[in-house]
Amino acid sequence: MSMYPKELERALLNVQKPGRYVGGEALSMVKDKKDVEVRFAFCFPDIYEIGMSHLGIKILYGAFNQIPYFWCERVFAPWIDMEAEMTARGVPLYALESGDPVKDFDFIGFTLQYELSYTNILNMLKLAGIPLRSADRTELFNIVVAGGPCACNPEPLADFFDLFFLGDGEEVDLEVMELYRQCKKEGASKKEFLRRAAQIEGVYVPSLYEAAYNPDGTVKSYTPKEGAPATVRKSSVKDMDGAYFPESFPVPMIEVVHDRVSVEVLRGCIRGCRFCQAGFLYRPFREKSIETIDRQCQALCASTGYDEISLSSLSTSDYSRLNDLLDQLHTWTEDQKISLSLPSLRVDNFSPELMARVNSVRKSGLTFAPEAGSQRLRDVINKNVTQEELMRTVTVAFQEGWTRIKLYFMIGLPTETMEDVQAILELGQAVVDAFYQCKDKPKGKAVEVSLSAAAFVPKPFTPFQWFGQDSMEVLQEKQRELKGKRPPRRVSVSYHGAQTSFLEAVFARGDRRLCAVLEKAAEYGLRMDGWDECFDYAKWLEAFAACGLDPAFYANRQRNFDEVFPWDHLDYGVTKEFLMEECKRAYAAQTTPNCREKCSGCGASCFKGGICVGGR
């Protein structure tokens, strides 16, 4: 921003970390308004430090801005201190590049990363002075759109958004912006624009679908109107080497959560862990070539000045030629004092050789995610990791000098018993034992094992989409089982709140009627629900009651296989039949091979990309 309004300057002097709100970063894209035809406000419904750590915003920001007549700017949710200042001083929500109010933009686009950010979306629209409901915005202007993983069931937000992007956004977003530009030129109405947008693959226009409900409250049907397709298929980038990837992005002046270059090495996941929504949503598994990754890493280091690269994906150690890739990157990163990091490690391919080649992992701690304590339950969730593998891995880690191990688990998984919960503690004990049995363990240091347990949230498009989440009472009982008993020596236990997981479960599989609850919640001033200091469970329950809706209906109800889901008219390639089959296998504790071992016929081959066509 070149000029700040005086009121903004005053606000900035009264808030924590004012650097969040000023823009001015190197490589941020400032265009001349007279050359621009379509302005897009890319809104991240969380604070700056979190939004600026997100790779998706960087990809789309670059993709939009490479078109001379599009200008994409960034907007983040103000923290509560800044929100209060802005409200008191009448400063509307603004974009960081131009400082212009969000209500001046053609598109207002949100990324849907987690359910607990939904109230931030409504709050940001309010701060921008834009009517919340799509029906109340009648002009072909202020088109409110969204994409991201939670767009796979956007129904709880359906009344607020004009359209949703399903799947990969790099191409379809631009197509819709072009259509808007065309419609503007023709003087077409918003209705006409939406009608035409609905014909583009990967675009879901919720107002063109009539939802009907059964007397028991479940969905009866979705009926398309005005020529909208009966099902909307996600868009999927076929060739990751050909897909747009930015050569630069705005480099934050203040420290953000992931303050480094991040290059996506592959999209999708071969694994098929049954609790993991991303593992199904992003199919098929598609890798970039070593040449592409190398070029993109070099370009980003040369433009940003960062000295760390994160090779990012859902499971980077599944990259088929990881060693060759690291060899190639090392030909220049060492000279340039650039370190490499992998965001996630798998228990079954951790090796000292790999660790020596990435500098990510501080000697202080290593994190693994067995997800469940017992082998039986790990088979249920198709997390194909054995206790022997975990023991081998931690022993190697101890030999290499690590003494702190963090293990992630979930409680409330389908078929879980108290024995399974106890098995989490036993696994922690086994890791401690492995330390004392290890002959080459670090001298003079004690082992520390921390076990972290999150409550499981069933998600759409997973084999557990039919599963009724454990009630709060059951979850709390399981937490007591973990925490109440004295944990083994050198083992510590922590868990995340069951209340936020419950709320996530409601909105993850919710339907359109929940729009009223969100509206009510925003009216009550709820936002930043992912932050302990803001989360107000009692107020949420009040909002549900005020709308006459029972949250347990959405979170805790076990669904039948023949139930129509609010997301059944959205098509992510993976078929409902496959998910049903996987669900049955889960309850029989049968595992399913990964995509590299054997194709299980999930349906994602309809996209004709990656591992589905390239062999394994």
């Binding site: 921003m1 709100y21 000023v22 001015g24 970063e25 190197a26 002046m253 940003t304 000045g305 004092k337």
Partner: protein, 219 residues
Amino acid sequence: MGDVKTVRVWFQKTGAAKYISHLDLTRCMARALKLSGLPVWYTEGFNPHIYMTFGMPLSLGTGGLRECMDIRLTEEASLEDAAEQLRRHLPQDISVLSVTIPEDPFDAVAYGEYELRLEAEDPESLWQKLQELLAQDVVLVKKRTKKGEKEVDVKPHFTQIESRTLPGWLVLLAVLPCGPQGSVNPSLLLEALEVHKNLRPYGEITRCRLLKKDFSDIR
């Protein structure tokens, strides 16, 4: 260290950059130095990083018109070119003025010259109030330190204050202790106005330059 040569980078920190902390500034500088391709010297520890040392950190929200930072170069480089290369890679509101060979060590810094712009409908009357304030025997203000709060008399520091008026603004110029021997934050004057005169004018603070004990510019 062989033929390592220390050079001093002079820069401004204004606009958006006013709102980033000193630690954030060092990170921005490190990235820009890396991008500049200048032959900068890295520390030789377990985790080598670019050697940088700053004159005096600025408070968050305070602008700086002539700040300085020392780096070391391992090869001969033209100072003008170095300034240009670094300038190209910094955010627009951190702008390099020049690169020089340092004449004074940073511990010679003793004072900072500050400009305080106070918004006022009637700048003359604000100046009157300020003079009344400074006519008191003592002007006590609570100062927050790492050890807690303590009361200090800020009057002695602001007796030499100069003023001028612009439409809507009272502009003050103050030379305050600023250096390894101790510093006085110019915002204490604003706090004194609030505590003693119940006035809360909006104020913009800018450090114009750093001075030695004899009030000459640090070089």
